[in-house]
Amino acid sequence: MNETPASSDSRSRRAPPAGGAALRPGLSDRTVAWLFVAPTLFLLLAINIFPLLWNVYLSFTNFKANAPGRPLRWLGLRNYERLLANEDIWASMQVTARFVFWSILFQVLLGFALAWLINRRFKGHAFWTTVIVVPMMLSPAVVGVFWTYLFQPQAGIFNYIVNFFYDFGDFTMIGDPDLAMWAIVLVDTWMWTPFVMLICLAGLRAVPDHLYEAAEVDGASSWRQFWTITVPLVLPFLMLAVLFRGIENFKMFDMVVELTSGGPGSATELASIYLKREAFEKWRTGFSAALAVVLFVTVFGVANIYVKVLNRVKER
């Protein structure tokens, strides 16, 4: 049967457009692509970019979220000047820096050591891996509450265990301004060492066996193999763990609030807790917006520098 011109025309309309052309007449590839991307883009703009820009704008004003009817005054850089001259903010930044440094140091040391042990694939290593990672599966707020009971000086098991080895008497971990910082470092280390361990384990398992075999043939000692093969090859993984934990701990909030509320006094008042108090308890929204900008720039800047260093290490 011969094809009529009409049916031929109809087929040509149904045929897929060459080179991935428009699905329907009038919609170009570019338009379709935008249509697909638009919802995500809109959400990104609405949820991330707009609040960020709005926050930057508010940081130059005297806005108070609990008094929306109050006339908004443009303050210029006054919030930033106040912020930089504020001793309490510097104190909270120091507390944050100490917390980040010590918790990451312990997590890296312990995490690497545990990964090293687990990597030896002893009998039951899979079971112990599961047991070790349990703390990081808990909610930080729950961990905070849970440890307040463990640290309770009269009934808590922590004091009991410590005093079993040496009698320190009625010491209190979260009530003593000198010990409270170590209490939050300890709890954070308990909770997040497994995370560092898992990343290190991935790094250790990525080291090819033939490198160790070649080193053994060359007569390299275990110590030498560790420093010249294991450490350099696992270092990028370790640095990645430090980056993740650094960012997380810089904005740590829930666990410490439950554990110490930033106390005693302001001994464990991290920058995030200070920010929350300024923003949602004192309602100094403009001022806290400025503080949020400073914290954001700090984390963003440090993380960027760190990532560059990380890339260099990987290239080596």
Partner: protein, 437 residues
Amino acid sequence: MRRTFLTTIALSLGLAAGVAQAQEKSLTLCWAAWDPANALTELSRDFTAQTGIAMNFEFVPWTSFADRFLNELNSRGKLCDLMIGDSQWLGLAAENGHYVKLNDFFDKEGIDIEDFLPATVYNYSTWPKGSPNYWALPAMGDALAWVYRKDWFARPEIREAFQKEYGRELAPPTTWTELMEVAKFFNGREIDGKVRYGVAIYTERGSEGITMGVTSALYPWGFRYQDPERPYQMEGFVNSPQAVEALEAYKALYECCTPPGHSDAYMVANLDAYKSGQVAMQMNWFAFFPGILKDEEVGAVSGFFVNPRQNEEASVLGGQGISVVSYSDKKDLALQYIKWFAQPEVQQKWWALGGYSAHRAVLEAPDFPKSAPFAGDFLKAMSNVRDFWQEPEYAELLQAMQRRIHDYVVADKGTAKEALDKLIQDWTEIFEDAGKL
């Protein structure tokens, strides 16, 4: 079959309409989760029985009470039709239009605000302070007071030891100096084979705990927030020598005589320390005293005393007024509740159930002081109560004080004078921001 189907549909629609109507005639009351809230739930059953208006309750623990409900008000939420909010919120709530002004309603319904204790009207209802602008009906009178172990105080060997050590009889303290002596005496003492501690005081950092605790020492020493002649001028008042002495006394009491780990304690922690027999005395709100009296362990052995004097008699004000939230869609029903609650017989039942009425018909009844072991002390305390700033900037002012006081008392940072000087700086900055300085 079809008929049955239609009947079922009609019944379902009728039921749904009935449910909707019942839901429409309901109110939500927001308050803190504590003993008096249970008494109010019980009391409100009468209101529902009389009016057919169902009562729902939103009770939040004290530690998140201000956060939760101030956020609700600031975001113009419709959750609460009635709010029993802290006295210090009045300035904020009135100036930002969160509460309905009740003057016209009182006039229309013949509610005489003078039927309530003047101190409670001043503190729980008026803004600006002392003006005839009413934003709440006094709902729950309260003040900070003390509980002690009557049985320990009565033991001959303990009394003898105290007499020997201090040259006077062991009795509930009437001054802060005596309070310190009694706390020291009991601290570390072994009673019934267990080591006991002197006192449980407020040291909480997160909400308002340590401020409430420390002001119970500051006020009797003669602390003033500002120059009465020059509002918001705090130099020489907030950091007066008396204030410094009071703050040092509070710190000394914390260091010497509280149980280990009592560094972030508020109402519940004090109750726990007391009920578990750790301490000889605790500070707490009158609101908890009916519950203590009913407690199986310590009810029979507890005595009560009003906040001790030092240079003057003064107690920290607690308690709240009940307000209608202006964002509620059921303001008429909410006002109906307030009208019902203001009746003397309802107030009488409120007191009987464990709430603290502020109605004079209840408090000035001849038999009131004997109606409970702490009733007389309650009256005494309410006659000299003092409150924290009630300015709209209350939350900022409170947080500044929490930080400075906790830093000094618990974290041992700096001196009392330095803490109070810094507090003046913080408060000055807040008042400057508010355009008051």
